[in-house]
């Protein structure tokens, strides 16, 4: 939080270990250890992510079917993509799912973490309960929730058998709300991790801050809202990226719960990509769809990431 305060930030190059006043070391060797340690990161970024992305983009202009082939067809794949009802529905679903998922993950994750942070009894037990779904594979998470949400033998039938005959709860079989059915399962699986992140963040906050707030007589909720949450900004950013990347890549859960149904009402972009590549055997179409995904992610993430990490400003 207090990093790069402006007066003598380490990124000015002074951080290279011993710096001799008479004989300034060569630029390249300043921070040598830091640079050496960053080689894996640089290699990954350049070779895998940039290289892989460029490769994907190039092949999105081909009519590759089962194997990548360099037969260029211009924008045909993109034309087909944007004429596809399935793709449009996928994008719409991603938006709804993404926004709800972000909001609820944050609220639930933070509230649970804050409750666990009250020096309560059984903290270990509760934390394990909230976290365990994260250990289970998506395929089975999807299967179990598919059962629970099944109107014929899941929650709806149980509630009805208890006497509430008109109780309706069949999100997976109603095209209008199916995406929320998937959301329920996704939150079940993923909020535990968000909670852990928040908890780590809360535990990283100086104990004295809490004491100061108590001496100042600031109510608990105000302490959280005006002091603690702003201090947890780095953790929140991490959480946003983790949740958001999970959202963009959501695939298995949809396959296991609905296979994109009813009809194509719960299709998502990652599934569109996978289906195009490995079911339709139309790699070109899959690459075109992934290029669109990457492009939109890049448009949102790059400016944000640049502001967040690139500038010399401090976010203290």
């Amino acid at each position: 939080m207090t990093r790069s305060g402006g007066n003598a930030p380490p990124d000015r190059g002074s951080a290279g270990g011993s710096r001799m006043s008479s004989n300034r070391p060569i630029r390249l060797f300043r921070n040598l250890n830091a640079k050496i340690s960053a080689i894996p990161m640089i290699a990954t970024a350049l070779v895998v992510f940039v290289g892989g992305t460029v490769w994907t983009i190039i092949y999105s202009f081909t009519n590759s079917k089962l194997l990548p082939r360099a037969k260029f067809v211009g924008l045909d794949q993109y034309e087909r993509l944007w004429n596809s009802n399935k793709w449009l529905i996928s994008i719409e679903n991603l938006f709804i799912f993404g926004i709800c998922s972000l909001i609820f993950s944050f609220i639930i994750g933070f509230v649970l973490a804050a409750l666990l942070d009250q020096k309560i009894r059984f903290e270990d037990t509760f934390r394990s309960i909230f976290l365990f779904p994260f250990a289970l594979s998506f395929i089975v998470t999807g299967l179990v929730w598919q059962w629970l949400l099944n109107p014929d033998f899941g929650i709806q039938s149980v509630v009805r058998s208890l006497g509430w005959e008109s109780f309706d709860f069949d999100p997976l079989y109603n095209a209008n709300i199916v995406i929320y059915g998937i959301l329920i399962a996704a939150l079940w699986q993923g909020t535990g991790l968000v909670m852990c992140l928040m908890l780590a963040g809360l535990r990283g906050i100086d104990e004295d801050i809490w004491k100061a707030a108590r001496v100042d007589g600031i109510p608990m909720w105000k302490t959280y809202l005006f002091i603690v949450i702003p201090m947890m900004r780095p953790v929140f950013i991490t959480a946003v990226v983790i949740i958001a990347s999970g959202i963009v890549r959501v695939y298995d859960l949809v396959v296991a719960q609905t296979s994109g149904g009813p009809g194509i009402a719960s299709e998502v972009p990652a599934k569109y990509v996978y289906d195009a590549m490995f079911l339709s055997q139309n790699l070109g179409q899959g690459f075109a769809a992934s290029t669109m995904m990457l492009l939109s992610v890049a448009i949102v993430v790059i400016p944000w990431a640049y502001l967040e990490f690139g500038g010399r400003k401090s976010h203290g």
């Binding site: 089962l66 194997l67 598919q146 069949d170 719960q257 609905t258 994109g260 149904g261 339709s280």
Partner: protein
């Protein structure tokens, strides 16, 4: 046990002509992982091991969607398997063109597969430019209507013998609180249903025009409109069917919750496990009891090119084994599918399987969707059909129009 030993001995003799057996390991990738499937694969493995080679099993469940990335990665990564299951037909064309598979033509000519394999279309699917690249191992047919006797008894109507009777019985079924037609939510199930209805309602000629001739005009014809009307009926019948997997739907038929289900012959396994007897607890109507035709899809094995000549030899041995009579019998009995050669005897087959054999013997068969359309087109059909089946706001006319558009652009 004794039967098995004899089988192995037979298998060994079959393989002999190819030369002295060498202990060569061959990794075989396939997606047969459930109980019956695995037992069937074991027959291949046993026969192969009996030749002195070693079958290294690489089972991965999930069908082509899972297997394809594995196969292609392994092959392009320079670490191919010895043999791999694949849907034959159009799907592997590109890999063949890229010269990645072993040419089996010589072996096929030597063993005279052309005369042995029935229907011949199976071998055609393995053929590209006159060369043979794969071994068909079984026939699965999707056009079956499975009916629950209990459901119709409860509704107080006789068990239908064809589609029209079935549709007529719907009000009684609804009255009795039954789901008339069980249908899982996965896209391929809707398309399977369409395929069956198309043969039953549209008839063979129309089917051929559209599927073989890719005739978009035929797809827009009034005859085809009837097919879509029937699909709309089916949609209404399946409205209350809230299940995901095909076997959950089959289970509805078993318990009598649903009147019937249109599903492939593999559904039979579910009835058997539930101790149901064909003709007594359930009925099966191939071609929906209207046109008793079945399309003959199935599984096939391909052999990626390997550097080691010993392994190449083992690959040919395996290919030869898979087609051989005793292995065909043993395999298909376990798998519950039909053999690819007409000259074998399946006494142990049950009622429904026998029906299938009869149809096969009578030559009333059609190529499968995999054989006539590319995976891309198939997926488009899947998506259209599932959208139509789950969204009552799409009219039969609209669906037919979109269908015809896909046919027009099909490859």
């Amino acid at each position: 046990m004794r039967f098995h030993t004899r089988l192995l001995a037979l298998a060994a003799t079959v393989a002999m002509p190819l030369g002295a057996a060498q202990a060569t390991e061959l990794e075989v990738t396939h997606w047969w992982t459930s109980g019956g499937e695995a037992a069937a694969v074991a027959e291949f493995a046993k026969a192969f091991d009996a030749t002195g080679n070693k079958w290294v099993d690489g089972a991965i469940a999930g069908g082509g969607g899972t297997a394809r990335p594995v196969m292609i990665s392994r092959i392009t990564g320079g670490d191919p398997m010895g043999a791999t299951q694949f849907n034959h037909g159009r799907q592997a064309e590109e890999l063949i063109e890229a010269g990645l598979f072993v040419d089996l033509t010589e072996l096929a000519e030597k063993e005279n597969w052309k005369d042995v394999v029935n229907p011949p279309s199976l071998l055609d699917s393995c053929t590209l430019d006159g060369r043979i690249y794969c071994v068909p191992v079984n026939i699965h047919s999707p056009q079956w209507l499975w009916l629950s006797h209990k459901a119709f008894e409860d509704a107080g109507v006789p068990v239908p013998t064809n589609w029209d009777e079935y549709v007529a019985a719907v009000p009684a079924l609804v009255e009795a609180g039954k789901v008339p037609l069980a249908l899982g939510n996965q896209p391929w199930q809707s398309n399977l249903l369409f395929g069956a209805v198309q043969i039953a309602i549209g008839g063979i000629d129309l089917w051929k025009q559209v599927n073989l001739g890719k005739d978009a005009e035929a797809a827009r014809s009034p005859e085809m409109a009837k097919v879509f009307q029937a699909m709309a009926d089916a949609r209404e019948m399946a409205e209350e069917s809230n299940v995901q997997d095909w076997n959950q739907a089959t289970n509805m038929v078993i318990t009598g919750e649903a009147g019937g289900q249109i599903m492939g012959d593999w559904a039979q396994g579910e009835f058997q496990v539930a101790n149901q007897v064909a003709g007594q607890d359930y009925s099966c109507l191939p071609g929906l009891g209207v046109h008793e035709y079945i399309s003959t899809g199935g599984d096939a094995f391909y052999f990626p090119k390997l550097d080691d000549p010993e392994q190449t030899k083992a690959q040919l041995e395996l290919a030869s084994l898979m087609v051989s009579k005793p292995v065909q019998v043993a395999f298909n009995l376990k798998k519950g599918s039909l053999p690819i050669r007409g000259d074998v005897d399946l006494e142990a087959a049950n009622d429904c399987m026998k029906k299938g054999l009869e149809i096969l013997a009578a030559g009333r068969m059609l190529p499968s969707g995999d054989q006539v359309f590319s995976a891309d087109t198939q997926t488009q059909f899947n998506d259209l059909m599932v959208e139509f089946m789950k969204d009552p706001s799409i009219s039969a006319e609209d669906a037919q129009k979109r269908y015809a558009d896909i046919v027009e652009n099909a490859d």
